[in-house]
Amino acid sequence: MEDRVILRVGAKILIPYILLFALYVQFHGDYGPGGGFQAGVIFASAFILYALIYGLAHARRVLPLELATFCAALGVVIFAGVGIVTLLKGGLFLEYGVLRHDPVHGQHLGILLVELGVFTTVFGSMVAFFYSFAGRRTGRS
């Protein structure tokens, strides 16, 4: 199975567009279908495709497991941090209106940041799940 040229070249062509599509889903989530969760899954699927085709060792060199778990935690920090900032600015927990002077702008910003947190967490945990399951020692090497 040394000559999987078609798979390698196809993945090499497709992976940038998968990443781009994930970002599109992320930032278009305010206006249409999409959002942090879906974008995170799509972003993670690009790395999972890479790991499937080029092997787990290469994928771990591109995106180490530590970085993935760090992303999973960082997203929660972003999410909760937005809530704490709104608390400090005198609103309720995750009341985005107080983030800016104009409540509409504040809600825009709040949704964007919270979705970014969801995106980071989902991306990190999906990749970490995949690494953990794919890296299990089985009977065959």
């Binding site: 199975m1 078609i6 798979l7 062509i13 497709l14 567009y17």
Partner: protein, 107 residues
Amino acid sequence: MAIVLDILSWAAIAGGLFFMVVGAIGVLRMPDVYTRLHAAGMTDTMGAGLILIGLTFQAGPTLVAVRLMLVWAFLLFTNPISTHALARAALSGGVEPFRVDMEGDKP
């Protein structure tokens, strides 16, 4: 003009549905993995492609049409690759291709 677009789009969608049905029958009736893959691959490229083209005629010159064409291009890329990967996996897994013995002697 609208009626021409409608006729074109319905023709494309009907053609796509025809290929879908043919592909489904092929998946059910073909004898082994490789011939079934042949039928299934045709379902995606021809069936889904023609349906997407028909929907593009309905969408008109909008951003939706661009997105539909992008989906179509993505399908044209990924479907042959996935069919190829499946066929290779079956071959390296030791699945023998189906053969009709023309000599007539029983195995």
